[in-house]
């Protein structure tokens, strides 16, 4: 507490200077007056008394000066003087200042921009009331389970949503797809967010027979209803079912996903057994009640698991529900981006460190150049401490300027970051540079200033060379060379770590881009067709609709093939069924085979250019009622029939009696993601759309188009409208876009890290250049002597650059060591590359050496051109 008191007095002394001065004057005057009166009382004549009183006081101006000192004002005055002087010095050495300023601004700007993202995405509390008490209930995924918990939980309030779903709604010209979420009635109340206008769902809104109501998101309300209050009570038709608009949520409320446009109650009907107990897909969360510890709520949640298991209308495996748990909601939400964000933060921290080392290096060079001035000041009585303070003040000044410039830069960098980061990054839209981030930038700037300022300041303090022995020409000697070596070494180490990381990510990206997706994406246009409830409820109608659509599209000029599938390739949505495989029986207790299932129309293979390896593809004859058939992928064939012929073998969904005969084997296709199927998949099959096991709510159209597809893309909604007025069409895109979208996240990360690594490389090069050229300057005389004595240019070049190169390599090796350990943290981000990949580890030292050689060329050249006679005369 004492320092607060002192700071308060010091600041008062500094800011309210006139008042403090007046008080001091008044106090001393009062003293003189009392003393005078006292003397007069004792019989001294008035004039004499005044004189004597003044004499006891001594010189008033000196007393005042001492009082100011005592109040810490002197330190303040010195600081002001140092700052003013420092500013003059910085303005005079424009080259040095602008270089240092730019370096700091880059470092601080990058760090600030990335910090704002990490802060917004990872650190900032969720925009809900008391978010610390919100927990995600892992593995409570069945409606019945959630319903039982909500009705019986005593320690927590449970709510749920079904994730995002798309619905058809009336648009201006034709039906539009809008995304919304189906939620439990208490969804908003458990999150603790009230509607902006209107009300949220009444209790029991999920029960059959309840009035259908919808709550709109702020953005959707503005976009579709112009933000008018009259929207309340109007009808919003979703999949041909009218919902009454009950309320509008405040701006910024966008749970469970940023693109959510509305919320409607989920259905909770215990009598609809399949729906209630049979389908996973509920996301359940809970708010702990007041005073309840997470452990207690977790225990209560788990205690219900065996009871719920017994409530299932069919027997559940004993292992059901073992993973039920409560995790902090924020943890759950950011789990997917945590590693990425922290990686980026680490990367910019390294860039900042390199920047700091660079500026420290510049400052030391600057101090060496100012040797004469500093020596003069020491001779005039400045203590080493005073000199150190002066240098430190200059550094902090520089860092502050760098911080301001860097913050301005950060605004631009953040805009770039937002553009570059994958769109799915949670809460990215909320990220901005606000007070917290500015505070962070200020702290980083000040810290950096102290960091790069301390080294030169400490050197000045312990510098014997500052003692004027040699006419101010003593140079920085061996310790200067040692510091230079240390700087180069640390810079090389930091840069190496960055380069290894960037190398691994770029290599991994390269591997991904060179994965053969198994199909030909060029000239293929895709679109998602949502026929609406009346059609999608029946497989016959869906297939018939597709045939009409295909007829219409095929008539469009340039269209070669049109096909449909339930899900496009490279779509990270699960489409799998549990099957029995002939020749490979499983004991009844063991988990059955789960295989990826794609439902396709006969033209699918031709449209996507997927190679048929064996047997035949689907034909129009493989329709409902005909013998069920499947195609299997090459690796599935290899796995189950390694040396036999899979044709004619059979597969059967576990809940069906009828076997499906394998009629063909096709090349492997990346249907789920570039890195392949999830590892718990046991194989991959295709079934005819007309024999689909799971009813698709939407179908993905794929069309191979000759020539420019742009016109076709534009005409697509109208063409479909002609044959199906209730159909909504969206996600019109080229297949190539779909493919590149599949690597969007790794690509942006690799480019970002690569960009920062490049920046670091540039900074490191500048640093090496600084150290080597400084070395040449320092050793001009020595080089002159050597040249005069007949040293070869090569040996001189080695003399000036050799030691730097050696430290560079040493630093780089140290960096490799650190990177070797650190890469463990990013292993999950890598694909198709070993985390200790030889190339990524071998290249950085080589690249660094080349860069360092390049950076040394100019100073080496300069050293070689030193005129021995002149350097000796002047040295």
């Amino acid at each position: 507490m004492r320092w607060i008191h002192k700071l308060h007095l010091m600041l008062r002394a500094a800011w309210r200077r006139p008042q403090v001065e007046r008080e001091m004057e008044a106090e001393l005057a009062a003293h003189l007056e009392s003393e005078t009166r006292d003397l007069i009382d004792r019989g001294v004549p008035a004039g004499e008394a005044r004189h004597r009183a003044a004499a006891t006081m001594g010189r008033l101006d000196l007393i005042k000066e001492e009082c100011r000192d005592a109040r810490g004002l002197a330190a303040w005055e010195n600081l002001k003087r140092d700052a003013a002087f420092g500013l003059r010095v910085l303005l005079k050495n424009r080259g040095f200042s602008s270089m240092a300023l730019l370096t700091m601004a880059l470092g601080i700007g990058s760090t600030t921009a990335v910090f704002s993202v990490v802060d917004g995405v990872l650190i900032r509390p969720l925009p809900f009331a008391d978010p610390g008490r919100l927990f995600y209930a892992n593995d409570v995924a069945v409606r019945g389970h959630f319903d039982v918990l909500r009705a019986n939980g005593r320690l927590a309030d449970y709510a749920a949503h079904l994730g995002m779903g798309a619905f058809n709604t009336r648009g201006r010209d034709w039906p539009e797809r809008v995304e919304g979420s189906r939620v439990s009635a208490n969804f908003f109340r458990v999150l603790g967010v009230a509607p902006l206008i209107g009300r949220d769902f009444a209790d029991g809104a999920e029960r059959p027979g309840a009035a259908r109501t919808v709550v709109l998101s702020h953005a959707f309300w503005l976009q579709r209803y112009g933000g008018r209050r009259e929207a309340l009570g109007q009808q919003l038709v979703l999949d041909e079912v009218p919902f009454e608009i009950a309320g509008v949520m405040p701006a910024g409320f966008q749970y469970p996903a940023p693109e959510v446009k509305f919320w409607i109650p989920m259905r909770l009907d215990p009598r609809a057994i399949g729906d209630y107990w049979g389908i996973n897909g509920v996301s359940t969360f809970a708010r702990l009640r007041a005073g309840v510890a997470p452990q207690a709520a977790r225990a209560e949640l788990r205690s219900w698991t065996p009871r719920v298991r017994a409530m299932f209308p069919w027997r559940m495996p004993d292992a059901w529900g073992t993973d039920v748990n409560l995790t902090e909601m924020r943890e759950q939400m950011v789990a997917g981006v945590k590693v990425r964000s922290l990686l980026l933060l680490g990367v910019v921290a390294l860039v900042l460190l390199i920047a700091i080392v660079n500026v420290a290096n510049l400052t030391i060079g600057q101090a060496a150049a100012r040797q004469a001035e500093l020596t003069l000041r020491v001779s005039l009585g400045a203590t080493p401490g005073r000199i150190a303070r002066q240098l430190l003040t200059e550094s902090v000044l520089l860092a502050a300027a760098g911080g301001i410039l860097g913050t301005l830069l950060a605004f631009g960098q953040l805009a770039l970051l937002k553009h570059w980061l994958p769109a799915g990054t949670p809460r990215l839209s909320e990220v901005s540079i606000d007070g917290r981030v500015l505070f962070f930038a200020a702290a980083v700037s000040l810290g950096s200033g102290l960091l790069f300022g301390l080294l030169p300041a400490w050197r000045a303090r312990s510098q014997r060379s500052l003692v004027p022995t040699d006419g101010g020409r003593s140079g920085m000697g061996r310790s200067g060379a040692r510091t230079g070596a240390a700087l180069v070494m640390s810079e090389a180490a930091f840069a190496t770590i960055l380069l290894v990381g960037a190398g691994l990510l770029l290599h991994s990206l390269w591997s991904m881009l060179h994965v053969d997706p198994g199909f030909r994406a060029e000239s293929v246009v895709t679109a998602e067709l949502s026929p609406g409830r009346a059609v999608s409820a029946s497989l016959d109608k869906t297939v018939a609709l597709f045939q009409q659509v295909r007829g219409r599209l095929a008539a469009y000029p340039g269209v070669q093939n049109v096909a449909a599938m339930n899900l496009l390739p490279l779509t990270p949505e699960i489409s799998a069924i549990t099957v029995a495989i002939e020749d490979h029986p499983r004991p009844p207790q063991a988990p059955q085979y789960t295989v990826w299932t794609t439902a396709v129309t006969p033209e699918h293979l031709d449209t996507l250019g997927i190679r048929l390896l064996q047997g035949r593809g689907f034909t129009e004859g493989d329709r409902e009622g005909a013998p069920p058939v499947v195609l299997i992928s090459k690796s599935t064939a290899r796995r189950y029939w390694p040396d036999g012929n899979p044709l004619g073998k059979r597969i059967r969904p576990v809940w069906k009696g009828e076997w499906q005969t394998i009629v063909g084997v096709v090349n492997d296709v990346r249907n789920y993601s570039i890195s392949g199927l999830p590892d718990w998949m046991d194989g991959e099959i295709y079934v005819p759309l007309s024999q689909a096991v799971l009813m698709p709510r939407t179908i993905s159209l794929i069309a191979r188009v000759d020539g420019a597809p742009a016109a076709f893309e534009k005409a697509l909604p109208r063409l479909i409208q002609e044959v199906c007025a209730t159909c909504a069409v969206d996600k019109i895109a080229r297949m190539e876009t779909v493919v590149s979208g599949a690597v969007a996240a790794p690509r942006s990360l690799a480019w970002l890290v690569g960009g920062f690594a490049l920046l670091a490389l540039g900074l490191a090069a500048a640093g090496v250049y600084g150290v080597v050229s400084h070395g040449v300057l320092r050793r001009t005389r020595e080089i002159g002597v050597r040249l005069a004595l007949g040293a070869s240019l090569r040996s001189v070049a080695w003399l000036v650059a050799g030691s730097s190169l050696r430290s560079l390599l040493a630093g780089s090796l140290a960096g490799l060591g650190v990177a070797w350990v650190l890469v463990r943290g990013i292993r999950t981000l890598l694909f198709g590359v070993d985390s200790h990949d030889l190339v990524s580890f071998a290249l950085p030292p080589i690249v660094l050496t080349c860069i360092a050689l390049l950076a040394s060329l100019l100073p080496m050249f300069r050293a070689a051109r030193i005129d021995p006679a002149r350097s000796l005369r002047e040295g």
Binding site: E23, A30, M57, G58, I63, E66, A70
Partner: protein, 109 residues
Amino acid sequence: MSKPTSLVQGTLYLLILKILDLEPRTGWAISQRLRQMSNETLQASHGSLYPALHKLEHEGWVSGEWRESAGGRPTKVYSLTRAGRRQLLLEAANWTKLSSAINGILESV
């Protein structure tokens, strides 16, 4: 120049703290009291008193407060803070230790 030669460096602080321990006083009253208590032996120059007072205030051991004097003029009255009382005990103890050590040396030689 204004440093009292007869006062060991730092002793002035101790004496001021001791005087203020009895009651709050103005700077002038402190100087009077100092003269009386030491039977005029310690003639601290009045000039050195104020820097000392301001230093003590800066350390948070005394606090200054502006009051109306008898004559109606505002005067600054100093009083001891709690931290000042602690400091007084500490410095008094140090002083006793130091002086007894010096006495011991003087007597034994």
